[in-house]
């Protein structure tokens, strides 16, 4: 709980809701007749509407990217280290928009929303979403907010994929793209991890084919396992070793399978528990599928340079040395394609021990480079 709001925080913020009634056609062939997007904004839109920055969230993220909802909040928004007065995305300069993607479980229309056709939650009937669909829905939100062109679209991980997709789907509407700890598409190993996570959810007896809400239950164990697998991949071996090592909860070994013995087991169980209490299982399935499906170069025989040729934005790509989920090599694929397509691009490989999660951490070199890049964006 913040006893006082820090000076470099955007302070107390409240989410807003935007309802859309024009149907949104989706890549899966279906469409959403009407839907809501929940979003937050920080800073002020300038008169020429040239200072708007879109924040795209990753797998389990949402609209609450910075600041606090109340003085009782235990933690600020998920990207508070990078958004605020004087921070890399300086809210004294930029007007920041952060939303919860469609299919999410934090306010935007998603599987736990009521399906107007049936009067009960969508559950498994909610259409499968893609990164392109999200970008299209975000463009509509931009229209409503009167933002013709983003000064920058910024995201880490799955958020970086959305930022890249913006430059392909709406080249005239993005001046700068910052793709952090991201990849041009998932590797087989990435998809494999996602599949393990999905199977954990799908085979939970409380899943009920995705209609668990109708049964008044949640597939808690499945979600917990999914999160545990995910969490392992977000950290590096070193980060885990440093945090937990082979430390034990109690002094002796129990020689059974039920007790929590190692510190790392306790940590993973806690993370899994906590997550399964706040996240929707169907949303987790949707988000991992969107990750698996993302492959913009597929439309050009796998030629990413040709795919990015339409882009008009300048790019900043950053990766972290110990990130093995989206390794620096994956970011370099993006950079190489951009240089082959003769785009303006800066690339940094930040030395950081934290693994994939490093993009959320206040790492000095990362924040400094991020600030420098954002500083040079004319508004």
């Amino acid at each position: 709980m913040p006893t006082a709001i820090p000076m470099d925080s955007v302070g107390l913020v409240s989410p807003q809701v935007q309802r859309f009634s024009e149907p949104l056609a989706l890549a899966c062939g279906r469409s959403l007749a009407d839907y809501e997007l929940v979003y937050e904004t920080y800073g002020e839109l300038n008169e020429s509407r040239s200072n708007a920055v879109l924040i795209c969230h990753a797998l389990s993220g949402h609209h609450h990217a910075a600041g606090y909802h109340s003085m009782e909040d235990r933690k600020p928004g998920w990207w508070d280290s990078c958004i605020g007065p004087g921070k890399p995305i300086d809210t004294l300069k930029f007007f920041v928009v952060s939303l919860n993607n469609l299919g999410g479980c934090n306010g935007s229309t998603g599987p736990s929303s009521v399906n107007p056709a049936t009067g009960s939650p969508f559950g498994a009937d909610f259409p499968v979403m893609t990164v392109e669909d999200w970008v299209n829905s975000q463009a509509r939100l931009a229209d409503v907010l009167g933002i013709q062109q983003w000064a920058a679209v910024v995201g880490g991980s799955l958020g970086g994929m959305q930022a890249m997709q913006w430059t392909i789907s709406y080249p005239d509407r993005v001046r700068h793209c910052l793709a952090i700890a991201s990849a041009p598409k998932l590797s087989a190993q990435n998809i494999a991890f996602n599949e393990v996570a999905r199977q954990a959810i799908l085979t939970d007896p409380d899943f009920h084919g995705g209609h668990f809400q109708d049964q008044g239950v949640i597939p808690k164990r499945g979600l917990m396992l999914a999160r545990m697998v995910g969490h392992i991949t977000y950290l590096s071996d070193d980060a885990m070793g440093e945090k937990f090592g082979r430390g034990l909860k109690s002094e002796k070994l129990n020689y059974d399978f039920h007790s929590v013995e190692f510190q790392v087991e306790s940590y993973l169980r806690y993370q899994g528990e906590e997550f399964s209490g706040r996240f929707d299982a169907n949303t987790y399935l949707l988000m991992t599928k969107a990750l698996d499906y993302f492959d913009p170069a597929a439309a050009h025989d796998g030629d990413l340079a040709r795919t990015l040729a339409v882009a008009k934005a300048d790019f900043c790509v950053m990766s972290f040395t110990t990130d093995w989920r989206f390794s620096p090599a994956r970011s370099r694929e993006i950079v190489d394609a951009l240089s082959a397509a003769r785009k303006n691009v800066c690339y940094l490989e930040i030395d950081a021990p934290q693994g994939h999660d490093a993009f959320l951490m206040p790492i000095p070199r990362y924040l400094q480079a991020f600030s420098s890049y954002m500083n040079r964006i004319a508004v």
Partner: protein
């Protein structure tokens, strides 16, 4: 602008596409962008230099030259520049080969270990030269492959590399009469413009 960059910008045509290996703080690319509509990228590994490039709007890519240029397509740049880095890479011959593959022409500058001061220091003290110009001791220097003009030109001959232009200058990058007359002894820095064996001998319009 640094005096050596002043000289080599003359050899870079307006509007060309340039790859600057070990671009440092990006002065050359920034100047070429502002004055000659040049586009391209700088490769650099020093975090402070990279930060400086970003501050000044220079396209900088964090990349270790010792890992090669395999990520760039052949003939994708008009000019590949490498100033004061040849002596710091693990395999100067390989990087030269790569530069010639990626660019139509290459501009390379390096300190001449054959300069009389180096020869004199080594002869008199029996130790590796340490000077204002080469301010490192042998064990902590980033410069691991010193060569002389003669050595470099020998390598060019072996690799069938054409030397299109050559300047021997002093440490203030003045090309005076003595360094023209006896470059390998009196030149402190070599500035070379070279091309691969495939390229016809042509002069860049300046």
């Amino acid at each position: 602008m640094r005096a050596d960059l002043e000289i080599i910008q003359d050899w870079i045509p307006a509007g060309s596409r340039v790859l600057d290996l070990g671009c440092g703080r990006g002065e050359l690319l920034a100047w070429l962008r502002d004055n000659k509509q040049v586009t391209g990228y700088g490769l650099e590994i020093d975090p402070e230099n990279i930060a400086h490039c970003i501050d000044h709007g220079v396209n900088v890519i964090e990349q270790d030259l010792d890992k090669g240029l395999g990520n760039f397509a052949s003939n994708s740049f008009d000019v590949v520049v490498m100033t004061q880095a040849l002596q710091a890479v693990h395999y100067p011959d390989r990087i030269l080969q790569e530069m010639l593959r990626v660019g139509r022409e290459c501009i390379i500058t390096f300190p001449n270990f054959g300069h009389w001061r180096c020869r004199w220091y080594l002869a008199r003290n029996g130790r590796m030269p340490v000077s204002e110009f080469l301010p490192y001791t042998w064990y902590n220097t980033p410069n691991i492959h010193f060569c002389t003009f003669k050595d470099f030109e020998q390598l060019c001959r072996e690799m069938q590399v054409k030397v299109l232009d050559r300047l021997a200058v002093d440490h203030e990058h003045r090309h005076n009469l003595p360094s023209r007359v006896w470059p390998n002894l009196l030149g402190e820095i070599g500035i070379y413009r070279v091309s691969g064996p495939g390229l016809a001998d042509h002069r860049v319009a300046v």
